[in-house]
Amino acid sequence: MSPLTDKGKKREAKKPDVKRPEAKTVEMKKPETKNSNGMKASKPEVERSLRMYRRMLMIRLFEEQVNELYTRALMPGLAHLYVGEEAVAVGICEALRDDDYITSTHRGHGHCVAKGAAPNRMFAELLGKEAGYCKGKGGSMHIADPATGNLGANAIVAGSAGIATGAAFSAKHKGKGQVAVCFFGEGALGQGVVYEVMNLAALWKLPVIYVCENNMYNEYTHFLETTAGDILSRGPAFGVPSESVDGQDVTAVYQVASRLVKRARDGEGPSFLMCNTYRYTGHHVGDISREYYRSKQEEHHWKTDRDPLKLFAEKLIAQKLTDAPSLVKLEDEVRAEMKAAVDFAIAAPYPNADKVEQDVYA
């Protein structure tokens, strides 16, 4: 859906509901405005804000295309959309260096984009094309890219907890100040391996940040039915300091992430960050009838009152860092970019069947 309207875009709808202003060249406002603390925002700060907004928008519109591909039966298999959770990936990755590592999940498109992946190669991967990040071998749930430090999305819930911790182990050994971020849903809190590696990370003071994206549902089950006790006290019980943040507020996410990343880089060890968020759509693109596990009102509330793009847009406008028409223009731009990326992917060739036995062994 468009971040600039109140209404969630229906999955059937082919174009956004938003009324477009007349086309005109969009100028981003000059960065001489106030930041959220009422202080004058510095140029890098402004650039950061606009970059974060753009990244969130990229994710939103990337997923719009994914759903479209599914609906038009152009995509093999399923995909798990990140819509609604954009501020988490973007806020966290904004705090990272290019050579920092991330691991991702089945709901991984947002993390990949936020860490810098190119949408066209992502779409190509989603369509199983040779030009995809994994030559079509991975698909939606396995996008990986050494160039952006992306160790790979993982279709095993909590499957990358060990990998991320291991990357932090290497980082510490190499001594170049790299940090690893492990993204996972709150459903992964059910997997014991998460606690095993948190304990290891604490013992060995590894530079890893466990980012729990609490969107409140493990597939079709509310997390309160699967999670006893107190999530935020789990980390400390294993020596990992923990905190939570509003996952719909990209600035807040970025700020706490920066602090935790610094902590990790400074050799002070791991941390756990719970980002409270919501997925707007189904568990995967095929999960259409959701009322047996959550209400339309709940979805409506998040989409209208808690949308990370809308909230951030309002803030940027209030801070005079941009204005509504500029954002609409930006949306058109990014949408066109995504469309082009999709077209690239659709046109790209499949791998030859004889590639199937390549890459089993290095």
Partner: protein
């Protein structure tokens, strides 16, 4: 004679419905039967196999769990030891990796290690099979691992009829049973009698009689074998298709007798080919029908690669009617 041909069954159910009916019947019959797994209650699993059960049996017996495969499988083991007959649901066969300690070091060994004192009447239901475009971590067929482990029984139904009868047997068995369902088969229909019936373990079913070659197929590969048999028929080769239905216990006698008759055999299974189920079955045949075999037993399994996502790649990783047909033709010297 194929078992089903002997009976005139009017009603057709999908594979998923047959599984559900078996569970419902057993839960009605025995209050200690319960279902434990992720999204098994209202959601009825992602494949909707269990839809409706929580409505009939309640949340005390159809129990949603956290995403803790090791933990709730372990709970199943302990519950089974102490009077329940849990049916533990592992959503995708690939997640069995997380249950190996509970199943192999605990469930499979409890009876023996206790000198026969405790028993573990539990069923672990899960899936197998590729070609759903789900990539390497959602497409594996790992039944060979369990077939390797003493103390476990392993069931691979290939039709709705077999699914119902075998699942009822599994639930009543006093041992840990691992029950694999082919994801791609959930919507396929077949005749299923309404009332009570069970199918014994260790009894292969001859799904099609033939004289020139034996095709042993398991689970998803039974239909592939039957399809290949039909193609072979057209070129005058009469194929017998045998479905062992359980890899452990294994009905060696039926397999060997068939190959003694046909003198040629292909074994088709969707697990990885290397060190997989086809190796055991081929070895059993090669030994048992040694003096009758006119050609080496041909094994066909999943290609030795992690299952790729891309359709043109994934499609070549598993045996198909066509590839089985070609292999059979070659084996019969008609290539």
């Amino acid at each position: 004679m194929p078992e089903l041909a002997e009976r005139a069954i009017e009603r057709e159910l999908t594979f998923a419905q047959a599984v559900r009916e078996a569970l419902a019947e057993e839960m009605r019959r025995d209050p200690t039967v319960c279902i434990i797994g992720e999204d098994v209650a209202e959601a009825g699993t992602p494949f909707k196999v269990l839809s409706g059960l929580v409505e009939e049996f309640g949340k005390e017996r159809v129990i949603d769990t956290p995403i803790s495969e090791a933990g709730f499988t372990g709970v199943g083991v302990g519950a089974a030891m102490t009077g329940m007959r849990p049916v533990v649901d592992i959503m995708f066969g690939d997640f069995l990796t997380l249950t190996m300690d509970q199943m192999v070091n605990q469930a499979a060994k409890v009876h023996y290690m206790s000198g026969g004192k405790w028993k573990v009447p539990m069923v672990l239901r899960t899936t197998l099979g590729a070609t759903r475009r789900s990539a390497a971590q959602h497409s594996q067929s790992l039944h060979a691992w369990f077939s390797h482990v003493p103390g476990l029984k392993v069931v691979l139904p290939s039709t709705p009829y077999d699914a119902k009868g075998l699942l009822k047997t599994a639930i009543r068995d006093d041992n840990p049973v691992v029950f694999f369902e082919d994801k791609m088969m959930y919507k396929t229909k077949g005749p299923v009698p309404e009332g009570e019936y069970t199918i014994p373990f260790g009894v292969a079913d001859i799904k099609r009689e033939g004289t020139d070659i034996t095709i042993v197929g398991t689970s998803s590969m039974v239909q592939v074998a039957l399809g290949a048999a039909a193609l072979l028929d057209e070129i005058g080769i009469s194929a017998e298709v045998i479905d062992p239905r359980t890899t452990w216990p294994l009905d060696e006698a039926t397999l060997i007798a068939s190959v003694k008759k046909t003198s040629r055999a292909i074994v088709v299974d969707e697990g990885y080919g290397r060190y997989g189920v086809t190796a055991e079955i081929a070895s059993v045949i090669a030994e048992g029908a040694f003096f009758n075999l006119e050609a080496p037993v041909k094994r066909m399994g999943a290609m030795h690669v992690p299952i790729p996502f891309s359709p043109p790649l994934e499609d070549v990783t598993v045996p198909t009617e066509q590839t089985v047909f070609e292999a059979a033709r070659k084996l019969c010297g008609k290539a």
